[in-house]
Symmetry: C2
Subunit: 351 residues, 2 copies
DNA sequence: GTCAGCGCTCCACTCGGTCGAGTGCCAGAA
DNA sequence: TTCTGGCACTCGACCGAGTGGAGCGCTGAC
């Protein structure tokens, strides 16, 4: 396939680009006459037909039936977004709309919500945001609360603002005063370090220094490890799914159901987003490329967002394959940047 | 309208009932011949036609066009569910399916999730559960954690298993040891009492005894009042919205969009459910009766659920007006009962 | 390599006709 | 008075034929 793209001469590329742009705009198969006229080239419709026949052989376009116009195949879209597309700069209004949506004082959860809402509102498709990994956020404080026989509540305060609760089931029972002392010990040792570091340290101490510590400290370390142990839950925030009902190419009810179901389950969405987290720029999945059958006629545009140079999450939109990539891509891109800086914003960290 | 229902003789009622049952089953307008045959009455089609003409005059049925059969109007459905419907007992499998879904050890939130999932799975429509009011649950414990300058985290443990976090912004700053003492004071006074009682007591103490207490106690009461003060957030759990895509009478995309949007916003759903909380049995909204335009072609079946004799919430389903009320009503009913007892189950309260 | 032209294909649309379900009404029976 | 059979009529669903138009592939000329 790849060598085929190289074989395309300038004229064929122009025609393919014009064809796809036209189809994206109108949603109608485009015929040779229209294409000849709108391409800007001074060639006749017959010539265009020849070129189109070639493109069809390569598998970039196809006609739904004899004597209809041509529409792009997934491979055609692929080539289009990879090397033919000229992305517009996002319009100033759009940038402003996105920018003004970010409240630098909001909690992380709120930021995620607004972001996916913004994405879906501006693009009129479904927006989604993968929650940031908390690898390098600082543990501010850890506390334990006895709930009942062998059940204690661990409270982690992160970055001085996020609070996480975890209920631990233990075999041994601890009194509240014991718990208090263990928390004090852990806080003294670990407060201010990143969760990642905390975890590593606890594991190391459990292995190395168990002889040097009294039973209480040992229990404290054990408890701390249990409390920080679990990764934060994988999650993704989705918004604006209902926009997808508006696109007639997605009008098949059964398909649509599966699609919305996937948004509810979130599992598959997560899978897709996680595929993108290693990339450092906008990525695009077209149709079934993501591996899910029911993504036919859908495309996904994602971009990772980073704080202090480290990628911490991914966001993106899902819409019909026939979408305005030139408009959507920069929107996703700029949103990712703005989210990254909102998360890393000092005004956000200070409180 | 009401006197009209009284004017109906037995035959007309039978015919209306058969007509609606038939329409609910097949989704087709039903004509006089079919109706005459399936009603069980020994009357001719012509007679049936006369009766139908009367029913149409009263506004209980209408034909979509000349010489199609008749279909029920909302008023017809209303009369049907009010006085013609014979509800089946829920089938044993259904009861078992529902019953086995309840895990008596689950947290309230999990219970809500499973319940709405159950409702939607068993009825194949959208299920929803209004979160229970916590009016008479016991406060087990209250703790405070200093997050930063003037920001403290209040942790309420309720019923020995639910945990609620609330961040309070205060004008004055407290040290952690002060907070500890205040928590001790509050726990000593209030633990074990219902949230409702706690709140009342705190308010009373603030008014009455401020002279007798030192500043610390006063601050503690103030703090406690702030922590328990807010009502728990209004919320509703929804599941299985996607089932609604399967019903062709809801196939209008624009309508469907509004409907799903409403599920996302939850506000309107809340409104509907709250209308039902005063009732003590199954309630039904047909079409626009709930006051929302876009509920055309939809009906809502709700039932309140109670713990220890007090109604604490509502659950229900939303589906097409043309639904099997005789099957859905008992399902909703029995689910409400089972949820109530799962919430009140002593095995649930003990841990 | 490009282009005009021809013949062909296929879709979308319209038109007329038929069929069947169902209605409304009427006159006669019970 | 109530019921019933019969009749004329209406309307939607379906079918098939016909038509116009868009668009293709191919070919022969330049």
């Amino acid at each position: 396939m790849d060598h085929a793209t190289i074989n395309l001469d300038a004229r064929a590329r122009t025609l393919l680009r014009t064809l796809i742009e036209s189809y994206i705009r109108d949603g109608q198969p485009v015929g040779s006459r229209t294409l000849a006229r709108s391409s800007g080239l001074s060639v006749s419709a017959a010539t265009v037909r020849n070129v189109m026949a070639d493109l069809e052989d390569i598998g970039l376009i196809h006609s739904p039936h004899t004597s209809a116009g041509r529409i792009p195949t997934p491979a055609g879209y692929r080539l289009f977004v990879d090397s033919l597309l000229e992305v517009r700069n996002p319009s100033p209004e759009e940038v402003r709309a996105i920018q003004s949506g970010f409240d630098p004082n909001a909690s992380t959860q709120d930021l995620m919500d607004t972001t996916s809402n913004l994405l879906s509102r501006v693009t009129r498709m479904a927006g989604m945001v993968r929650l940031p990994r908390h690898r390098n956020v600082a543990l501010s404080q850890i506390e334990f609360l006895r709930l009942g026989e062998g059940r204690i509540l661990a409270i982690l305060v992160i970055d001085g603002k996020e609070v996480q609760n975890r209920v631990l089931e233990l075999e041994r029972d601890f009194g509240q005063d014991e718990l208090q002392r263990m928390a004090n010990y852990l806080n003294a040792h670990l407060a201010g370090k990143s969760l990642h570091a905390v975890r590593a340290e606890l594991l190391r101490e459990m292995r190395d220094v168990r002889d040097d510590l009294d039973a209480m400290m040992l229990a404290a370390i054990d408890l701390g490890e249990k409390a920080v142990g679990d990764e934060d839950p994988d999650d993704v925030v989705v918004a604006g799914q209902t926009h997808l009902l508006g696109y007639e190419e997605l009008a098949d009810m059964e398909r649509l159901r599966q699609l919305l179901e996937a948004f509810n389950e979130k599992q598959e969405i997560l899978g897709i987003l996680d595929q993108c987290i290693r990339s450092d720029r906008v990525q695009i999945f077209i149709g079934r490329e993501s591996g899910l059958d029911w993504f036919e006629n859908c495309s996904v545009v994602t971009a990772p967002y980073s704080v202090d140079g480290e990628v911490v999450g991914v966001l993106g939109v899902i819409g019909p394959t026939r979408m305005s990539y030139d408009r959507v891509i920069p929107i996703v891109d700029v949103t990712a940047r703005l989210l990254g800086s909102a998360l890393g914003d000092p005004t956000n960290e200070s409180r």
